[in-house]
C-alpha cells in the first residue's frame, strides 16, 4: 500500500509538472494564384447549426476575395421550409441528387472544397468541421493552377434568357476524363432559418443553388485535355419569373466547375463565377 502511494504520488507530480512549449496560431496565408476553388455547402432552412456554416462561408469569401465560388445546396436533409415561417422552398431535384452524391457525410452543415476525397469513411468529400473549411480552401489554392475558364454571360431582361459561353484553357496536359457543371445561384434572399433553438424570420440566404444547367454530376467536357487546346461550350437558360421574390437576376451568379469524372476521382480542377448582371 505504501509503495503504491509513493509511486502514484511521484507519477502525479512528474506528469503535472511537465510544461509544454506553446506554439502560436498563425494568420491564414493568402496565396497569389489564378486558381478559383469550389466550395459546396450542404445546408438547409430547418438545420439548426447551419447559420454557423453560413458564417464560415462568408468569412472565407472575405478572406480570399475572388478565389472561392460558393454554392449552398438545400437538398433533402433538414432542408424543408419551416412550417408557418418560410416563404420559399429552396429544395429542388438536382440539389437533392447532388446532396446524395456526396454521401457519406455525417450531418449538416458540411462542406466540400473542390470535391477532394478526405479519406474518411464517415465523410468522404464534405466535412462537418466548419473550422476546417478555411484550411481546406487554403490547401486547394496552394495547388498548381492547371486550367483557366473564361466566361461570357449575356442576359436579356425582357425575355429573361441567359446565354452562357465559356472556354476552358488547359495550361498543362491533363490526363483522364473531365466533366463540367454549370450552377445558377441566388443571394440576398430574406427568409426564415432555424438557428440553434430559435428561428430567425429574416435570415439572409446567399449562394442558394437554384438550378443546375447540366446534369447534376456534370456534362462531358473531354478526355486527356491537351495544353492550350481550347474547349468551348454554350448554354442557354430562361430564368423563371415565379415565385415572386425569387429568380432576381441582379442577385444571381453563374458558377462553372471543371472536374474529374471517374468513380475514384471527382476533384475540381478549376471553378469560375460571374454575376448574371454585372
Amino acid at each position: 500500500m505504501k509503495n503504491i502511494s509513493i509511486i502514484l504520488l511521484l507519477s502525479f507530480i512528474f506528469l503535472y509538472s511537465c510544461e509544454e512549449i506553446m506554439q502560436p496560431i498563425a494568420d491564414p496565408e493568402i496565396p497569389v494564384t489564378d486558381r478559383v476553388v469550389l466550395l459546396e455547402e450542404l445546408t438547409g432552412a430547418s438545420c439548426p447549426n447551419c447559420p454557423k456554416g453560413t458564417a464560415a462561408v462568408e468569412a472565407i469569401l472575405q478572406k480570399f476575395p475572388g478565389k472561392v465560388a460558393a454554392i449552398g445546396i438545400h437538398g433533402e436533409f433538414l432542408a424543408k421550409p419551416i412550417p408557418g415561417k418560410s416563404k420559399y422552398d429552396f429544395r429542388n431535384k438536382k440539389a437533392a441528387d447532388l446532396e446524395n452524391w456526396f454521401q457519406p457525410w455525417l450531418g449538416k452543415p458540411a462542406a466540400s472544397v473542390n470535391r477532394v476525397d478526405l479519406n474518411n469513411p464517415d465523410q468522404k468529400y464534405a466535412t462537418v468541421s466548419t473550422g476546417q473549411w478555411q484550411a481546406n480552401v487554403e490547401k486547394e489554392l496552394n495547388k498548381p493552377h492547371q486550367l483557366s475558364i473564361l466566361m461570357d454571360l449575356k442576359f436579356d431582361a425582357t425575355s429573361r434568357v441567359l446565354d452562357i459561353d465559356f472556354t476552358a484553357i488547359p495550361l498543362v496536359d491533363l490526363d483522364g476524363n473531365y466533366n463540367f457543371t454549370i450552377y445558377l445561384t441566388e443571394s440576398k434572399i430574406m427568409d426564415a432559418q432555424t438557428n440553434g433553438n430559435v428561428i430567425i424570420d429574416e435570415f439572409e440566404h446567399n449562394h442558394v443553388l437554384r438550378e443546375i444547367l447540366t446534369k447534376f454530376d456534370g456534362d462531358v467536357l473531354g478526355t486527356d485535355l491537351k495544353k492550350n487546346v481550347l474547349i468551348k461550350k454554350k448554354y442557354s437558360y430562361t430564368l423563371p419569373s415565379t415565385p415572386e421574390g425569387l429568380w432576381k437576376p441582379e442577385n444571381m451568379d453563374v458558377v462553372i466547375a471543371i472536374h474529374h469524372s471517374s468513380t475514384t476521382d471527382r476533384s475540381v480542377v478549376q471553378a469560375a463565377y460571374e454575376h448574371v448582371i454585372k
Partner: protein, 545 residues
Amino acid sequence: MTRILPLIFIIFFSSTLFAQEKGVFSGAFETNANVFLRDSSIHANNTPQYDHQFFGGEAWLNLNYKIQGFTIGTRFDMFHNSNLRNPTGSYSGTGIGRWYLKKQINKLEISAGYLYDQIGSGFIFRAFETRPLFIDNALYGASMKYNFSDTWHLMGFVGKQKNAFDTYSGNLKGIRAEGFINLGSEESPITFAPGIGLVNKTISDDYMSGVKDVLRSYQAEDRFTPSFNTFASTIYNTLNYKSLSLYTEVALKSKDVFYNPFAEKTELVGSTTGKLVSQSGSVLYGSLSFAQGKWGVTAEVKRTENFSFRVDPNLTLLRGLINYLTPLNRQNTYRLTARYSPAAQDISEIAYALDLRYKFNKALSANVNISNINTLAGDTLFQEVFTEVIYKHKRKWQLTSGVQFLTYNQEIYETKAEVPLVKAVTPYLDFLYKFTPTEALRLELQYMNTKQDFGSWIFGLAEFSIAPRWNFEMSGMYNNKPKKPNSKGELEKILYPTLGIVFFNESQRYSLRYVKQVEGVVCSGGICRLEPAFSGVRFSMNTTF
C-alpha cells in the same frame, strides 16, 4: 494488423505442442443481416441501401484460447454495406477487429493488443465496445498490472484508441491503483474499496494541425494557444457497512481543447454558438444504496462541467471518446417508455435520481424511480417519475404495470428549434400467462399521451413462447394523434408493425423480423445526424461456444 497474426499463431501453436496441460478454447459469433425495403411514406429511402444495395449486415467472430497462464484471442469483424457506422451511409470493411495476448507471471499480468478496461466509473477512461452504435474504443497498446496482494493492485497502460480497422493518432497513457480495506470486525465489517487513476492524452501533430487550422479561422477574440497534453485524474471509493453502500467519485481534467456547442463564437458580423475552447473540467458523482427487510433505496447525484474528452477535439458524435459519462436516469426497456431517453451531457449537467423498492409479500412488489436532470444554469433537461407494480399469481401468471410521467428537453437533446418541452404520460401493462410449463403468452400494452413532437402513440405486443425453442411475436406502434405532417404535408396516422420469430438451439439464438421503425433526428456536439426510419427484414443470430 494482419502482420501481427502470424506471431500470435506461432505462440499459440508452440504453446499447444509443448504444453503439458490442455488448453481451453472459447468463442462467440454474432451476425446481423438486413434486407432494406424502400418506403418513402416513412422516409425509409435515399440511402445507398434503399437505393441500390438492398442488403447490408455485420458479423463478429471471437476466438479465445487459454493455456499455461497465457490467454490469446482474436476477433474477425465484417461490415458489409452496413449502416451502423453512419446511418445515412454505407460502410464496408473486413478484417481482424481485435487481437490480444495476456500472460500471468506470478503477481504480474501483462497484456498487449486491443484491450478493454476502465478506471473507476469510466469518467476519465473507458475502453469499451457497443456494437449497435459502432463504438469500439479498445486501447491498442500494452498494459501491465501488478498485484501487490489479493486486494491491492497497480495497473498502467500506454496506447492509441482504435478507430474501426485503424487507430486514431495521438497517445493515451494511464495508471490505476485499487484496493480493499476492512476496518470493522468479522461480524460487522466496514469495508472500503478505494481507487485512484490518472490519464494523460497527447494530441498528435496531425490532430494539432487540424486544431490550429480551425483556430486560424476564428476571430482574434476567440483564438487561444492549444496545448498537446491533457491530464485527467480521478479518486473513488466504495464504502460498505451492513446493508449500506456508498460510492463516491471525483474526476478532474486539466485544460483541454474541446468543442463546446453552447459557447458564443464571434463572427465577422454578429455571433454564432459553438466553438473550440480550452478549459478544465470536473465530474462529481455519488451513489448511496440501502436495503433493509422489504425496502431497497438507491439515491444518486452527478455534476458534470466541461468534461468532453476526445482523442481529437475536431471529432464529433460518438467518435474518439476517451471516457464514458454514466446517465443517471432509469434505463427503460418498454418501447414507449424508452422513446425519450436523455444522453449524458458532458458540458453542463446536474442530475439526481432516486429509486425506491418495496416488497409487500412474495406475490406483490413495487418500484418508484425519480430522475431530475438540469443544466448547471438551472434549465430543465429531463424529469421522469416511473412507477412499477409487479404481481405474481403463483406460477401461473404475472402482471407488471405502472405509469411514466416524463419531461424531455428536445431543444437540447435534439437541437430542435423553438419546440416546447415534451411532456408525456405513459401508462403501461405487461401480462405474462403460462398455459403450461413450456407455453406462455406475453402481452404488452402502452399508451403515450403527449401533445408534442410526433403526438400520441399506442404500442401493443403479443409474444407466444414455446420453451425452449420458439418465440413468435407481433407488435405495432401506432401514431393515433399525429402532430407531424408526412411528406405530403398531411397529418397521417401511421402504423409501424413488427412481426418476428425467434428460435433457440441451446446457446444459439436466431431471430427473423419484419420491421417498420419510425425515423428521428439526433444532434450532438453541434452536429445533427439523421437516424433514419427502417423498413425491411432483419435477421440476427448469436451463439457462444
